[in-house]
Symmetry: C2
């Protein structure tokens, strides 16, 4: 369904990139690719698990240069190949309600991918329950972080 956006509650990263939708999709849905771009450097993605179906797990482990690790567990909600990927950290895999995280406010991510010339129009949307969560996610560096990760995705996709 079409996302119902609310600028008071949502964060959006929108860019056109010069890699085709099929490579953007592959970068997002294959663990070996995710590890190459998902976490802005100098942090790294050291593990990733993907069960690409509604209710399936989306797990990543991020590691800082000092060795601090953050384990993120989400649940896929909608998968429209090469067009749309939706997952949330408000549910665990299998749709079980999740405990609130101390690291990141609860959000649902919607990744929209459209052909744009020879490249891709890319939108990454984060939905939050209230303005406080949106603002906290914003202060944590959503735009810079997701933008830098997208740069890394594009650079990696060109090597696939």
């Amino acid at each position: 369904m079409t996302p119902q956006l609310d600028p008071r509650l949502d964060l959006v990263l929108e860019r056109s990139v010069d890699v085709p939708p099929e490579l953007v999709w592959m970068a997002w849905t294959v663990p070996e690719h995710i590890k190459k771009w998902f976490t802005p450097a100098p942090w790294m993605t050291v593990d990733c698990e993907i069960d690409l179906r509604p209710g399936g797990i989306f797990r990543t482990v991020m590691r800082s240069p000092e060795g601090q690790e953050i384990n993120n567990i989400g649940c896929f909600l909608e998968i429209v190949p090469v067009r749309k990927l939706v997952w949330t950290v408000a549910l665990k895999p299998g749709y079980r309600p999740a405990n609130p995280s101390f690291d990141v406010p609860a959000f649902t991510a919607i990744i929209l991918i459209e052909p744009h010339g020879k490249g891709t129009r890319y939108r990454a949307i984060a939905l939050h329950k209230d303005e406080a969560d949106r603002d906290a996610h914003d202060r944590m560096g959503f735009s810079d972080g997701w933008g830098k990760a997208l740069d890394q995705l594009v650079a990696h996709a060109k090597t696939i």
Copy 2:
């Protein structure tokens, strides 16, 4: 996907009923039917909105004999016609994370419907994030409430 149950965290109502799966499904997915059985008497379901697709709204309004109203808003997650219905109150329609409710702990409901002779093997599962939420939902009368509602469903289905 097959639900991953955890007896410490989940509540399950399982019964065989003497109405066919098609009528149980209809009772669950059509607002005019929901209003006839969803809330254990003497409370009533006075309004219902259903957008039967992943991300769609599942809203009910319950009213007590004294006129107190409780508005429940959930989000459908999975729809397998005549077999499986999954929705959660941990997300609002459109998959936005929900604010915690004061009335009911966050849960995800999985309704499983299977042919059983001329009737239906019916399972209603509520998934919770922790034992405290499970126990609170149990103390609120999950088994009695959902069981009584199922009796009402069966009685109503026989009139369809």
